[in-house]
């Protein structure tokens, strides 16, 4: 299984019926492909849509029905649309059950950096700061390392997205929790030894006596 699928499938296991969920672009988007059949999850797109569906079939796209990257989407039965003030009221106001975002770095206190590499890449924060500050639960979906260097670090060197720590990071190697200000190894991916996770992680990890394998 490729790394992205391992991550997306594991995060999809955290979904349950009736949840309102916001998925960032990149790996997080893939989580929507793994919703168990029969489960109704409301996916929000922060440009003003709840009930985001899959990519439309050829010829069925509408120029005014798009995702947060401006790409055509469909809307599922029960969908609703609204303005940007409502969209971020949902995000900050305690209505959003889960946000899944990409990350550049996460440090051992759970602080996330994902919106800027100074003087190199300046995309802007878009909705990321509101999402991390406001969602009930924050999961970062990212590859464990970038070109061999650790992304789960002792202290973020990039500007952070929020002082609010994320709840989990899910990578192709592991699930790490950041409860109580510590990075704890919760699960390893199938066939991945704990030592491999530790070697690929710069942050100090708390390793419980028993670390189960990720259920896929």
């Amino acid at each position: 299984m490729n790394p992205q699928t391992i991550i997306a499938r594991r995060i999809a296991r955290e979904l349950s019926s009736g949840m309102l969920v916001n998925l960032g672009i990149g790996i997080p988007t893939l989580v929507a492909n793994h919703v168990p059949s029969g489960m109704q999850v409301f996916f929000q797109s922060e440009n003003g849509l709840i009930g985001t569906g899959s990519v439309p079939e050829d010829g069925m796209a509408h120029p005014m029905l798009t995702d947060a990257a401006g790409q055509p989407v469909t809307a599922l039965p029960g969908a609703s649309t609204f303005d940007s003030a409502m969209s971020f009221g949902l995000i900050r106001g305690g209505h959003l059950d889960l946000t899944v975002l990409g990350g550049l770095q996460v440090d051992q206190a759970g602080q996330l950096a994902n919106w800027v590499i100074p003087n190199k890449m300046v995309p802007g924060m878009g909705g990321a700061m509101d999402l991390v500050s406001g969602a009930k639960r924050v999961i970062v979906a990212m590859q464990h390392t970038a070109k061999g260097s650790a992304k789960i670090v002792k202290k973020c060197t990039l500007p952070i997205t929020s002082t609010r720590p994320v709840d989990w990071v899910v990578t192709e190697l592991a699930v790490i929790s950041f409860r109580d200000g510590r990075a704890t190894l919760l699960e390893t991916a199938p066939g991945v030894p704990v030592a491999q996770v530790v070697a690929a992680t710069e942050a100090d990890l708390v390793i419980p006596d028993h670390v189960p394998e990720m259920v896929q």
Binding site: N47, D83, P123, T161
Partner: protein
């Protein structure tokens, strides 16, 4: 509300004006008005909007034509030209978290001095801003934004200027329609009064100054 020809609607915008422009990655952006701004070479603009779209689309056309002096936006990631002009100091860019940006505009249009939000605390966004404690929680004071003109794109306008919007083309449009001295709306469809039922009017006619005649 008055109807106005496209050319005249843009002619009343002076160089150096501060504009709010609707749209999210160009979806819900008044493209005809933008094209006319480029044609009339309106310069030195300040633009407040969610993003600068991509090259060749929406606000991206204004950036490409170097008509913009300053932008206040949440995201420029899909427009390499905006990033290039920012790096070379040709364009001043103020990045604002999206939820904060829309609330600052809403405050400006609703008679409020600003809003309190936890978003941005402890990040570069906090620089130069005041912290305020309310009921044991810490917030940032984010001040209201207003503009000289709002360029709004609606799905339906009636002859009086009542507006309704479609799907994800709504985004910032009804918010900016409240926050500018002069509101110029264009619409995909212009229809008789009564076609939009009162419950479906999102922007009421009295806040709209001009509806741009369709071609």
């Amino acid at each position: 509300m008055r109807t106005i020809a496209l050319e005249r609607s843009v002619a009343m915008i002076p160089d150096g004006a501060c504009l709010m422009i609707g749209g999210f990655m160009s979806v819900g952006t008044p493209e005809r008005v933008i094209d006319e701004m480029v044609r009339q070479n309106k310069r030195d603009l300040t633009v407040i909007a969610n993003d600068t779209a991509m090259p060749g689309k929406g606000i991206g056309k204004l950036v490409q034509a170097k008509l913009v002096r300053k932008i206040i936006v949440s995201h420029i990631g899909l427009n390499p030209e905006t990033q290039r002009q920012m790096m070379t100091d040709e364009l001043e860019v103020e990045l604002v978290p999206q939820g904060t940006l829309v609330e600052r505009i809403r405050a400006g249009g609703h008679g409020l001095g600003g809003i309190l939000t936890q978003t941005g605390i402890g990040t570069p966004v906090e620089t130069g801003k005041q912290r305020i404690e309310v009921n044991g929680k810490t917030y940032l004071l984010e001040i209201a934004l207003r503009a000289d003109f709002a360029l709004v794109q609606a799905f339906i306008a009636d002859y009086l200027g009542n507006l309704s919007y479609a799907l994800t083309a709504r985004n910032f449009n009804p918010i900016i329609a409240m926050a500018a001295d002069t509101v110029i709306a264009s619409a995909d469809n212009i229809v008789p009064v009564g076609v939009i039922s009162p419950d479906h009017v999102v922007t009421p006619a009295p806040v709209v100054d001009y509806v741009v005649a369709n071609a």
